[in-house]
Assembly symmetry: C2
Homo-oligomer: 212 residues x 2
């Protein structure tokens, strides 16, 4: 697939690298094409394309908003026509102290859906560390990727892209449940950093048949 | 240990049964000693003790508040002297439609700590189903029990009690993090009921060494 990744930080860079390894076409959309992060990515793989935000948005059938949540509004406004595109939201509306969420009774994902006037927003990759995006396997187990969204087809595409890079997907329902995934991210951050477990942790949903 | 369980519903009844199997002494504290639920428990195991709320609270070194969160205040007021006792809070402040939490910027666990003037409150058993309390094993894996609290010794006791009945424990830090565990319960409820995965699901935190 053609994937436009807005942002070249840990999340965007790692997803781009993994998807390239699986044969997808990647264009990063960034404000500054000369930044060290962008240069490092292009040196890593000369097949990476780089453009400004509107170019990457035009390029991708799927667009990943791998940016701080505070940049979402400006990015959507600069993205041009997003109609029909699948928008993946891996952001979290963290307060500056990382202890809480700055949004109540909504989520970044729902805000994106409104700003872009799109039903094809999928919340994904927000309650997981970049280390796990790079390597989904814990001993013999794959980490779970929790996603939600209102469009079934958009979620199927994201599930395939997640499977491509080694994740099992747990669909937690409609986009309104992004509120729960943003809360789950808070728990991940608490455990990784405040409780000092480090970034090599990931959530898994255990399931069994109702037969014991 | 001597464990007082306030409430004889699915959570309290199942915990009592499992801990009895491991040799702990259990007294249920209930409003109505003749209720069908209570009679069923006593018929299941004649070693179960039953009393009113104050008797069970006096009996237990550890007290489990296995009641609706709306009954917490009345229960604490009826529990007599709780000083030195470990209070386990498995409740969730659900809105009547089960879609959200009725408390903001606090948690039931923090309210209990204030009402009981206690530092020994431990949030536990709230983001897990009663089926999993009855059987913690999913294929070959043990479900995780997420706990938090301000008193290290109290958490160690709860961890031992959880290990006794087959759980691995993830300590997520101080009692203020009960807010995060109450949010995690919302996610469990969403998946089990709204998304119709059923009650045989449980969260696991995958971990690995930082050496890949």
């Amino acid at each position: 697939m053609k994937i436009g990744i807005i942002g070249a930080g840990d999340v965007g860079g790692t997803l781009g690298k993994r998807w390239r390894q699986k044969g997808h076409e990647i264009m990063f959309g960034v404000r500054n094409l000369q930044s060290p992060k962008v240069q490092k990515l292009v040196q890593m793989d000369q097949n990476f394309k780089v453009g400004d935000i509107s170019e990457a948005a035009a390029f991708g059938e799927v667009i990943v908003l791998a940016i701080p949540w505070t940049s979402v509004e400006e990015t959507i406004l600069n993205s041009g026509n997003l109609s029909g595109k699948i928008l993946i939201d891996p952001t979290n509306p963290l307060t500056p102290d990382l202890k809480g969420l700055a949004l109540h009774d909504t989520s970044v994902a729902e805000k994106i859906a409104k700003l872009a006037n799109s039903t094809r927003v999928v919340k994904a990759f927000n309650a997981i560390g970049a280390r796990t995006l790079d390597n989904s396997v814990f001993d013999s187990q794959r980490a779970d990727l929790f996603i939600c969204g209102d469009d079934r087809h958009a979620k199927e595409v994201v599930e395939e892209l997640a499977n491509d890079i080694g994740f099992d997907v747990v669909d937690i329902g409609p986009l309104v449940n992004a509120r729960k995934l943003e809360q789950l991210a808070l728990l991940w951050i608490e455990l990784a950093f405040k409780q000092q477990m480090g970034p090599n942790i990931a959530f898994k949903l255990l399931k069994r048949k109702d037969d014991f």
